[in-house]
């Protein structure tokens, strides 16, 4: 089997990102031309057949999402592309934004045509100023050439896209917070219902999809949903952009068919770990994802296979961590992230993260007890069940999974032992060497 594919990343780096002419030479906008000859429900049918699931993290079936949006009887409908890419260890949307923005624009325009949407936004995180410029330029060029803007391809249909910038807040990736932020407000999640699909941007129906999700659409429309689905597994259609990072030789973004195992990804594609190091665990899907031991690497990248094991793929981040790292020190890094990023709206997350941080610090400075280990589990479970949005619900995923698979290292820390020699018990307060 071929290890990597390029269905969505075809021609990355081979064309000028904002050149419509060069994009057309590689088959660009053929899907849009085809879509405008089809009935919206026919396009949606192809997307359903493709088994495409949202690539932003929640893996909601895209065809169903679009169908629901189609049947919402309220206008205007807005389209927002989620390019907030805030999940640590995720840098795959950046590849599309920087190298193939026209593929994203084409995917969004097809969605707009189906929903008769006059206006879309690409919300790009503030940390990617260069990507914002490239995408803005691509939008202008597409408008100039009649593939976007007024009277697209002489159909009388008009659709405009604007780039919006984030300003450094992870929670804004959550779809209702994204809408709040797009309206110029603080990005605190909204209560649901009403759902964004019914009442999103300025209270109007809004379709939110991830960059990679939109970028899959032109291929599906052009080649057919079945062909796209055929690359993947029975339950997960197509390919996935994965981001390999951490203690692994060939770090980077790779497009792999669903069904690839984590072991193939880390050792065959990633080249394994640097000399002399041993794999300790892998974190899937970014800081909000579970950490799993070496013994589980034969699991396939497939939404269903992962779900059976209680795991999720999230955004496609795959972080390899070697044995020079300490589980607790790693957990401190994760906990600080969520403590910083919690928007403070709900108690389980605001207070839960604070408590988790205090507990993790006890393990680092040698004052933890068995009771503290139980408390982490309890707090983590409460957050998972009671938090207002996905941030709080997943903030303790790393804690719970690390306790599940590496409990003995927590116990060692209770006995003031750190096998990686990172925690200096009774040293200075925050456990630094």
């Amino acid at each position: 089997m071929q290890k990597t594919l390029n269905i969505i990343t075809e021609n990355v780096g081979q064309i000028r990102p904002d050149s419509v002419d060069e994009y057309i030479k590689i088959g660009g906008f053929e899907a849009l031309k085809k879509a405008i000859t089809m009935h919206p429900l026919e396009v949606i049918e192809e997307i359903k057949k493709s088994k495409l699931q949202g690539r932003g993290g929640a893996a909601y079936p895209t065809g169903i999402k679009w169908e629901q949006a189609y049947y919402v009887d309220k206008n205007p409908k807005y389209i927002i592309c989620n390019a907030d890419e805030g999940e640590p260890g995720t840098f795959k949307d950046k590849v599309i934004l920087d190298y193939l923005p026209l593929r994203l624009i084409e995917g969004m325009t097809i969605a707009a045509y189906i929903l008769k949407s006059p206006k879309g936004f690409i919300y790009i995180r503030g940390e990617y100023p260069e990507s914002q410029r490239i995408v803005s330029s691509a939008i202008k060029e597409a408008e100039k050439m009649g593939y976007l803007g007024d009277d697209i391809l002489g159909t009388g249909f008009s659709f405009h896209i604007e780039v919006l910038s984030g300003a450094g807040a992870y929670v804004c990736g959550e779809n209702s917070a994204l809408v709040e932020s797009s309206e110029g407000k603080s990005g605190r999640p909204r209560i649901k219902p009403p759902f964004i699909k019914n009442s999103g941007y300025l209270g109007m129906p809004t379709l939110v999809n991830n960059v990679e999700t939109f970028a899959c659409v032109p291929y599906i429309v052009k080649e057919g949903g079945e062909k796209f689905a055929g690359y993947g597994t029975e339950f997960s259609g197509g390919t996935k952009l994965v981001c390999l990072s951490g203690n692994v030789k060939n770090r980077g973004v790779y497009e792999v068919p669903f069904g690839t195992t984590l072991r193939e990804l880390i050792y065959d594609i990633g080249g394994g770990l640097p000399e002399g190091r041993k794999l300790k665990f892998v974190q899937l899907g970014g800081s909000s994802g579970p950490c799993i031991p070496e013994s589980m690497l034969d699991i396939k990248i497939c939404y269903k296979d992962l779900k059976v094991k209680g795991l999720t793929l999230g955004s496609g981040a795959i972080l390899v961590v070697d044995d020079s790292n300490c589980i607790i020190d790693f957990l401190k890094c994760i906990t600080e992230f969520f403590y910083h990023e919690s928007c403070g709206k709900c108690t389980p997350c605001r207070e839960g993260n604070k408590q988790l941080l205090a507990l993790v610090n006890k393990f680092i400075n040698g004052s933890a007890t068995y009771n503290d280990l139980e408390t982490i589990k309890k707090v983590g479970q409460i957050m998972k069940e009671a938090a207002f949005c996905g941030l709080g619900e997943t903030a303790a995923t790393a804690h719970l999974s690390l306790i599940k698979y590496f409990e003995e290292e927590f116990v060692e820390h209770i006995n003031k032992k750190c096998r990686a020699n990172i925690c200096n018990f009774g040293g200075d307060k925050d456990g630094k060497r």
């Binding site: 890419e85 805030g86 999940e87 640590p88 260890g89 995720t90 840098f91 950046k94 995180r125 503030g126 940390e127 990617y128 100023p129 260069e130 919006l164 910038s165 984030g166 300003a167 450094g168 807040a169 992870y170 932020s181 797009s182 309206e183 110029g184 407000k185 603080s186 990005g187 605190r188 300025l202 981001c243 390999l244 990072s245 951490g246 203690n247 770090r251 980077g252 973004v253 974190q283 800081s287 981040a317 972080l319 961590v321 070697d322 790292n325 790693f330 890094c333 994760i334 600080e336 992230f337 910083h340 990023e341 928007c343 630094k432």
Partner: protein, 158 residues
């Protein structure tokens, strides 16, 4: 006293966004770039609130919600060291120590000549070249002590 020149520039930014309230975040991002000190003064918040007809407290809420904004003057170049997990396992702590040593300041501080501010950032999407830092809009990766000294020299020379 509000500097009239700055006030004029703020109004121009607001006009550029067609006075739309929905563009508050975009306006604040642009306003923060008006001076070398990478911050938004309270006086300017007043102007923005008035011109966009949004309550002052609301503008202030937005300003303090997002981590890219600062209400205090900072250095000309903001050095943001990534502290997310992929950089962490590639020993970003050592990078912090080197920057602190070379610049003679601690995390969160600004050098006396007001050229550099050192702060943390969450992942900047450069995990493939971690440990990574962002200086202004530029990203640097695979950092070593030699490389860091070289980079600082480059900026000091500017």
């Amino acid at each position: 006293m509000v500097n009239q020149e700055i006030k004029q520039k703020i109004i121009e930014i607001i006009e550029k966004y067609k006075r739309e309230k929905e563009k508050l975040v975009m306006v604040l991002l642009d306003v923060q770039k008006l001076t070398e000190f990478n911050y938004i003064d309270r006086e300017w918040v007043n102007i923005i609130a008035e011109e966009l007809d949004i309550p002052y407290t609301k503008v202030y809420d937005v300003l303090t919600f997002y981590s890219m904004f600062s209400t205090k003057p900072r250095g000309k170049y903001i050095i943001e060291i990534c502290k997310s997990a992929p950089c962490h396992v590639n020993k970003s702590k050592e990078v912090v120590a080197i920057f602190e040593e070379v610049l003679g300041i601690k995390m969160g501080e600004t050098t006396e000549d007001k050229i550099f501010t050192l702060q943390y950032t969450s992942c900047i999407g450069a995990c493939d070249i971690s440990p990574a830092v962002k200086i202004g809009e530029k990203v640097y990766g695979n950092l070593t002590k030699e490389k860091i000294i070289e980079i600082i020299k480059e900026y000091r020379g500017v």
